[in-house]
């Protein structure tokens, strides 16, 4: 009989571990499925919240949906999402245990050939606004968002039933000019571009406007006109050619140390097998080498780079200076002895470097063809020890054998350098020397040319032609790394930024900036974080300013926005107009021009913010994206002169101010020109409007009445504020707010709130059924408390009679039956536009 073996303790324990692991995996998998389901639920709720916010705004009067003037950007997302911070500030909503934040952005839009185009926020009303709501929440420590947009159209949409047209010519030759931009300053947008015959035409809303015609190489032209409904006017314009020149140049980057010379084997007079690597510093600053800059070598047989251990003698390498690494403390070339600045440590590994073993009299890290065994290829890397950052790489091929490629760079792979092409690799007595410029090797200029392609950056000499140089030597610099794709901008206010591109072989980077106005300007060229900036480039008519080799060496983290700001006659404005960016930088216009330093990213620019110069309007341009070191030219504004209108809204029969009432200001053609909302003191003040006649119309809903219903006035003196009148309003909205608690805890399940001037009877007080029969008579206002245990009821302002507020809380008793707990408050006096808070209920 054979006995079965029992489980051992170890087996038992293993099985417990296995079962445990499986159970754990199942629980994990289950919870990750739960999380995925949770995400889709969150998303649904977010979409509903966004939709709800849009409905809330659309419930309001069209003119209460004020375009967003004070804009911030949500930078967690790309592109950044703009949102309003004043009229519709971000709000946080708790639903289903998750906090959602709603961001709102309203912008005037118009329809152009069937597509919706966004306009600047101060544009005259077109009868159409785009409301965008973005809901953001955190899901597993990551920001998620849902955006919903809709178009809100006014019921009295203004028709573009007027038109302007004409022909654009050159003032001197009378030749028609095509591609001129036709701009209506008040719309701040291009309304048409002249065709090949110089003709243009545009449909516009009736009103008073400033026409602005712009073409590169010509002075801009400004004129004012007025057009009534169904009227067509013709404006033929001759533009005066502007003097302009161009700027060309060859920009270089000088941002890293380079390997400037490599010799693998050259015999000293005593027969010692010398090798050395020479480094050059093309940057504008001194680098510490001792302990900070290292070398690595990769042999053809190795898959990885091997660090070379180094003993440093010299600490630093100055700008334009050399540094010599060698396998001996002094290299003797052509009878001259040159001291090395650093030597290979005797502790270098003979496993990493088979030709290095001081005890056997072998001192070479870099093998050469003569060493046999297919040797001859290799690569050297210069790196920063602290963070491993690669500064430069040089590789050389041996193309005749099986081991032909330099290890760093197989052809067709994504590597930084293309190797030096060699038939049999590096030989004894051979040297590789870096070019001083695209013209090749020079003994009088620093070897600094680096297009990241070793095959066209180095010359090889079969005998030593250029002696090695050490820290006692330095040379002037005429090149660097071609600054390909750098952004070129001029602050003349007319030219349009361009990019540099590679030309020639070996390549250098080149740009040509055309149509630069004559004068002395700021000028910048930048590539990532390096820039060349000057404030004194002078361009004369018909000439070309040539910037032969220059260097992007200043480190910058900001950009510039420049442009022209004039009045409608094209003149400079005094006192000087302030220009403000959304990131808080500001400057003043000087002689029609401004240049504003801004942080990189997306910014908005406002000219004359807050009507600081009260005689002129304030104008903004949103969503300008800017890179480090970039000069964005041509962000121009035309500011028209004008005055402001103020006024006040009070409750009829009293002096009590009514906040939150929208006030519309139209011109005599009833084209809306401004839209304000009364502040806490019931007052409103418009932006600066151009002089002329206006109508002030407070906007009311169907239950409110206002006297007078409109008020007409004429603005004559720029810089003044004209008081229109005090409007009296009846039945305007106010609010009642409070919290609901049960045993001192916020009620999360919902409490019904009913407010009315009527007193309810019964226990609990019995609110009437609501139907079409209760449309007239004293109204009832209702709301449910939210998940945080708060409520807000909108009611018509009334103090006599005052409101009664009733609350009803369905309490679930132990037998699962509902019992209605209730409470009430009387004599709640609500003023229009104000919140009566702290009407709290607790049980």
């Amino acid at each position: 009989m054979s006995l079965k073996r029992a489980f051992t303790l170890t087996e038992l324990m293993i099985s417990v571990v296995i079962i445990g692991t499986v159970l754990f995996a199942i629980v994990e998998a289950y919870s990750s499925i739960q999380k995925a389901v949770q995400y889709s639920k969150d998303r649904t709720i977010a979409t509903n919240l966004a939709q709800e916010k849009i409905n809330i705004i659309r419930e309001k009067l069209y003119y209460k949906a004020v375009p967003s003037l004070n804009v911030s950007y949500l930078t967690d997302f790309d592109p950044p999402i703009p949102y309003d911070t004043v009229f519709f500030p971000p709000e946080t909503v708790l639903e289903g245990g998750v906090y959602y934040t709603r961001y709102t952005y309203i912008v005037p839009v118009e329809e152009v050939n069937g597509s919706i185009v966004e306009l600047p926020p101060q544009s005259p009303d077109t009868g159409m606004k785009k409301i965008s709501v973005t809901v953001v929440w955190s899901y597993r420590n990551e920001k998620k968002k849902v955006s919903v947009s809709t178009i809100y159209t006014s019921k009295d949409t203004v028709m573009r039933n007027a038109s302007i047209g004409g022909r654009i010519r050159d003032k001197d030759t009378l030749a028609p000019l095509s591609n001129a931009n036709i701009i209506i300053a008040e719309y701040m947008g291009i309304v048409d571009v002249s065709d090949s015959n110089g003709n243009y035409s545009a449909s516009i809303y009736p009103g008073n406007y400033t026409l602005y015609v712009q073409k590169r190489g010509y002075f801009p032209y400004l004129t004012q006109f007025s057009v009534g409904p169904n009227q067509s006017i013709t404006k033929d314009i001759d533009l005066k050619a502007m003097g302009w020149g161009k700027i060309t140049g060859v920009p270089w980057l000088r941002d890293h140390l380079v390997i400037s010379q490599i010799v693998g084997s050259t015999k000293s007079p005593s027969g010692f097998d010398q090798e050395y690597i020479e480094i050059f510093n093309p940057t504008t600053y001194t680098w510490t080498v001792n302990g900070n800059i290292g070398l690595r070598f990769q042999r053809i047989y190795d898959d990885t780079k091997k660090n070379i251990l180094i003993n440093y003698f010299t600490d630093t390498i100055p700008s334009g200076g050399f540094y010599l690494f060698a396998n001996t403390s002094s290299v003797i070339i052509n009878g001259v002895s040159i001291n090395a600045d650093a030597v290979w440590s005797s502790t270098n590994s003979s496993i990493d470097f088979p030709y290095f073993n001081p005890s056997l009299g072998k001192y070479n890290i870099i093998p050469v063809f003569g060493d046999g065994s297919d040797e001859g290829g290799g690569a050297i890397e210069l790196y920063r020890i602290s963070d491993g950052k690669i500064l430069d790489q040089v590789g050389w091929n041996r193309n005749d054998g099986a081991r032909k490629s330099a290890p760093f760079c197989e052809p067709g792979t994504n590597c930084q350098t293309q190797a030096i092409q060699q038939n049999i690799g590096l030989q004894e007595g051979e040297q590789y020397v870096r070019y001083s410029s695209t013209a090749g090797v020079s003994s009088v200029y620093g070897p600094s040319y680096d297009s990241n392609n070793n095959s066209i950056n180095f010359k090889d000499y079969l005998s030593i032609n250029i002696s090695p140089r050490n820290s006692l030597n330095s040379l002037p610099i005429i090149s660097g790394t071609p600054a390909d794709g750098s952004i070129v901008g001029c602050g003349d206010g007319y030219s349009v930024s361009t990019n540099s591109y590679l030309v020639g072989s070996p390549p250098y980077s080149y740009f040509e900036l055309n149509y630069v106005a004559t004068g002395t300007w700021n000028f910048s060229v930048s590539s990532n974080t390096y820039s060349f900036i000057t404030d004194s480039i002078t361009v004369t008519n018909g000439s070309t300013v040539t910037l032969n080799s220059f260097y992007l060496t200043s480190e910058v983290t900001w950009g510039y926005i420049t442009g022209n700001i004039t009045d409608v006659y094209g003149n400079n404005i005094t006192p000087a107009i302030k220009v403000l960016s959304s990131d808080g930088n500001e400057t003043y216009v000087s002689n029609k021009k401004y240049i504003l330093m801004v942080s990189t990213g997306v910014v908005s620019i406002t000219a004359n913010p807050g009507n600081l110069n009260p005689s002129y309007v304030s104008v903004s341009s949103n969503n300008i994206s800017i890179n480090a070191g970039e000069i964005k030219s041509g962000v121009n504004f035309v500011l028209f002169q004008g005055a402001r209108i103020s006024g006040k809204v009070v409750i009829a029969g009293s002096t009590v101010a009514v906040p939150g009432i929208p006030v519309l200001i139209t011109d005599i053609y009833e084209t809306p020109r401004d839209n304000q909302i009364t502040d806490a003191s019931g007052r409103f003040i418009t932006n600066v409007l151009s002089t002329g006649s206006y109508i002030v119309i407070p906007q009311t809903d169907s239950k409110e009445t206002v006297t007078p219903s409109k008020y007409t006035l004429i603005l004559t003196s720029p810089g003044t504020t004209v008081f229109s009148t005090t409007f009296s309003i009846t039945n305007a909205i106010g609010y009642i707010a409070g919290s609901v608690k049960f045993q001192n805890q916020p009620i999360k399940t919902g409490v019904l709130i009913v407010a009315s001037t009527v007193s309810l009877s019964g226990i609990p007080p019995n609110p009437p059924d609501i139907s079409s029969y209760t449309l007239s008579g004293s109204p009832y206002y209702m709301a449910s408390s939210n998940e945080e245990g708060n409520y807000l009821v909108e009611v018509r302002g009334s103090t006599n009679p005052a409101y009664n507020v009733y609350s009803y809380y369905p309490y679930l008793d132990n037998n699962d039956n509902f019992v209605i707990y209730w409470s009430s408050r009387t004599n709640v006096k609500v003023y229009a536009g104000q919140v009566f808070s702290n009407i709290n209920f607790s049980w």
Partner: protein
């Protein structure tokens, strides 16, 4: 012949099992409760979403003049019932009946959820029947009434017809 367990081994097994059970059972219990809790919350969210979308879809089609907001009987919450007819003449009711939320489509009634805690149909103003706010809370007690899962949903519906 193989030997069986020694007494020491047996006692070690018993001791280890004992420790594992002592530690594992409460942990498993908590994990289990959390899973049930999360699952119930999701169910409630889904039920609320379904009921809400059903109500909003039909209510959008309502004629404002036919809307009546009341309660099903005197033991229900005020304004927990809405009656209306749609533009194509169909009659609907949605109401609270105890813990049930009931839909009446013509003469057919069906229960949308039996976890109802709160339901109210409110208007911003009794004279404006075109915008109806719905607030709905579902709640379910778990583990012998010791813990509860809760979901509150609210939505505004614009009634499209006069």
């Amino acid at each position: 012949m193989k030997k069986g367990y020694t007494l020491t081994e047996l006692m070690a097994v018993v001791a280890i099992s004992g420790i594992l059970i002592a530690v594992g059972v409460p942990v498993l219990n908590t994990v289990n409760q959390n899973i049930i809790m999360a699952k119930t919350r999701l169910t409630l969210q889904q039920d609320a979403r379904n009921a809400m979308s059903l109500i909003t879809r039909v209510l959008k089609e309502a004629t404002a003049s036919s809307i009546v907001i009341t309660r099903h009987n005197s033991s229900q919450m005020f304004y927990s019932k809405i009656k209306f007819s749609t533009i194509d003449g169909k009659n609907y009711e949605f109401y609270q009946d105890g813990k049930n939320i009931v839909m009446k489509d013509g003469n057919l009634t069906r229960v949308l959820s039996s976890d109802l805690r709160y339901l109210a149909f409110t208007l911003k103003e009794s004279s404006d029947l075109y915008i109806v706010s719905i607030s709905m809370t579902l709640e379910r007690y778990l583990f012998g009434g010791k813990r509860k899962a809760l979901h509150m949903a609210s939505e505004k519906v614009m009634v499209m017809n006069d």
